[in-house]
Amino acid sequence: MVLGVIGADCHAVGNKILERVFSDAGFNVVNLGVMVSQDEYIDAAIETGAEAIIVSSLYGHGEIDCQGFRERCVERGIEDIILYVGGNLVVGKAPHEEIITKFKAMGYDRVFTPDTPLEECVNYLKKDIESHRAENGKNHQY
């Protein structure tokens, strides 16, 4: 999986913790750190054959930075990749449901607010990767 903080966002603390948590959970984590552009994620995902991209945005510009990420993945040929996003995704304080709906509409598979326990996310990711593998197995007959 590829991990990073998108856009012009410099919040580094959560990123270091996410790296640690996902590594401890057995994932192979490629951490791009802060200030990562959409293409940098995709480059890394293609290079490493990653199954998931985990995007963080803390600084409030998430709405602008995260738009079009799924479309870009499609363009670059990794349309199926699991896309998660989490953090303080919008400017200001908005209802959780509103945020989740907004980012799901952008094509993110799961959307997390800062209060979600990280174990939950880890479990989702394990599940999603499994079912993804199963599906891919079916569809593409590897």
């Binding site: 200030m35 602008i64 400017v91 200001g92």
Partner: protein, 481 residues
């Protein structure tokens, strides 16, 4: 940009300005004579430097919020709304402007206009330009500071001073290491030498502009000696270019004794290093930032953290306190939440205004410890610079002499690991290459060991993680769950 040694000569400086003003169309409107004329026309009551000086003399604690939204009208409304409850006003700049991405900022302005609400996390002053910024300043009657996080803030500074802002936060180290990833330290420090020179120019013309290195850095478990070293270096760099009004900052760590001691040490160290370097004619003041790390989501708990920050500011007699809001954990605060943070802080600062903390042995021990630690880093840096502070700073980061916990910059060594001791004071678990003498290292080791013993676990990265979350989870020391 390359580093300067000593004050930049005026003609050289004026040439450099040409380039800087080219970087975005609004730069064309900057006219230095007009700017000075405009600044001279502002009343003393709107001058940040004067206000800080008076507060420092009167041992008052001034309150300042953070605030900035995308559009001018909205921004004015916001500041006018906050003005009655604070002493000093801010204009917080958005993150695109901070990275000189004026095109993105422009998109943000357009989108905000369309959405009818701010989609930027601050005020894009460069894009708005001088005339619009003057509209902001003229709508207010208290001094206004530009607060940002911009490694290359030259154009922003030019526009800000021309528009009547009278204080400018930041520094070549403090606005790079925590805020950027790939910007070389040489570049940001050189940019800030330019900015300090610009302030120096205004000072030469009799216009006072306050400068404030950003104290808290990554806001996360930064030990006093690390942020003090940066504050002192940026203070020296500023004075070198002719800055006179200088406000050194510190982010609350949470342990009362360590925080008060840190503020005492900061002032004493500043006078020590500034005078040693031959500066006499400066006006020193201090700022305490209420807890800069992760906040609790619950607002009642957030108020508690805010009050504790106000307590630290009041008891340490900071010249000003930067105020957080009950929305901190979620997002840019509404104006109401911002006002609440101010009111809460005002109440505690006023209730403590007449109270004094007597100096105790423990406090003086801590002051002395912080001074010895800071001197170790400062002296190593000065030696590395061989007479050039700017060079010294760059080499100090390269050599691991200065190391800021949790900072994203590739120029930061990132080897030093802090952790709280059993009373919640920030100590060092792994010094990396920071040249703290062995006797002091032993003090840290012993204090951390006491906590480890108490918690019946090894001091490890897990302990650090627990400390990162601790205040947001309702404690100071991140005890095992």
């Amino acid at each position: 940009m390359k580093l300067f040694q000593g004050k930049i000569p005026e003609n050289e400086f004026m040439q450099m300005r040409e380039d800087a003003l080219q970087t975005w169309p609004t730069g064309q409107d900057v006219d230095l004579d007009d700017a000075i004329q405009y600044q001279r026309g502002l009343p003393d009551s709107m001058n940040f430097a004067r206000k800080m000086y008076e507060a420092d003399q009167a041992k008052q604690v001034l309150l300042q919020p953070r605030a900035g939204v995308a559009l001018v009208e909205e921004h004015i409304q916001l500041l006018k709304y906050l003005e009655p409850e604070c002493d000093l006003l801010p204009t917080t700049i958005d993150a695109y402007t901070r990275l000189n991405q004026y095109n993105e900022a422009q998109r943000g302005i357009e989108k905000s206009k369309a959405a009818g609400q701010s989609l930027l996390n601050g005020f894009p002053a460069v894009n708005h330009g001088i005339a619009e910024c003057r509209r902001v300043v003229e709508s207010l009657s208290k001094p206004v500071e530009i607060r940002h996080g911009t490694p290359d803030a030259r154009l922003l500074a030019e526009i800000s001073f021309a528009a009547g802002f009278t204080s400018y936060e930041g520094g070549g180290i403090s606005y790079n290491i925590p805020y950027a990833k790939k910007v070389p330290l040489e570049h940001s420090i050189a940019c800030w030498q330019y900015i300090d020179r610009l302030v120096g120019y205004f000072e030469e013309q009799g216009v006072n502009i306050n400068r404030e290195p950003f104290g808290p850095l990554s806001g996360t478990l930064v030990p006093p000696f690390a942020s003090h070293t940066v504050a002192l270096l940026e203070g020296l760099l500023a004075l070198e270019q002719g800055v006179r009004s200088i406000t050194l900052g510190y982010g609350q760590a949470g342990n009362m004794i360590q925080d008060i001691a840190a503020m005492m040490a900061l002032r004493e160290l500043a006078d020590e290093y500034f005078q040693q370097a031959g500066y006499k004619d400066y006006e020193l003041s201090t700022v305490l930032h209420q807890w800069m790390g992760g906040f609790p989501e619950d607002q009642a708990k957030a108020f508690s953290v805010i009050t504790w920050g106000g307590t630290a500011a009041a008891l340490s007699k900071a010249t000003k306190v930067i105020v957080k809001t009950p929305h901190e954990a979620f997002g840019i605060p509404t104006k109401e939440a911002n006002l609440e943070g101010l009111k809460c802080t005002r109440q505690i600062v006023n209730m403590l205004a007449d109270q004094e903390v007597p100096e105790t042995k423990q406090m003086l021990w801590e002051v002395d410890l912080i001074k010895r630690e800071t001197r170790a880093l400062m002296d190593a840096t000065i030696t590395l610079g061989n007479g050039n502070i700017a060079e010294g700073a760059v080499r100090a980061f390269q050599a691991g002499v200065i190391d800021i916990p949790f900072a994203p910059s590739l120029a930061n060594p990132g080897k030093m690991m802090p952790v709280r001791d059993n009373h919640g004071a920030i100590r060092i678990l792994d010094f990396g290459k920071v040249p703290i003498p062995e006797d002091i290292r032993k003090i840290h080791r012993d204090l951390i060991q006491k906590r480890a013993d108490f918690e019946r676990r090894e001091a490890s990265f897990q302990m650090v993680i627990d400390d990162i979350y601790s205040i947001s989870k309702g404690r100071l020391v991140g005890r095992p769950r």
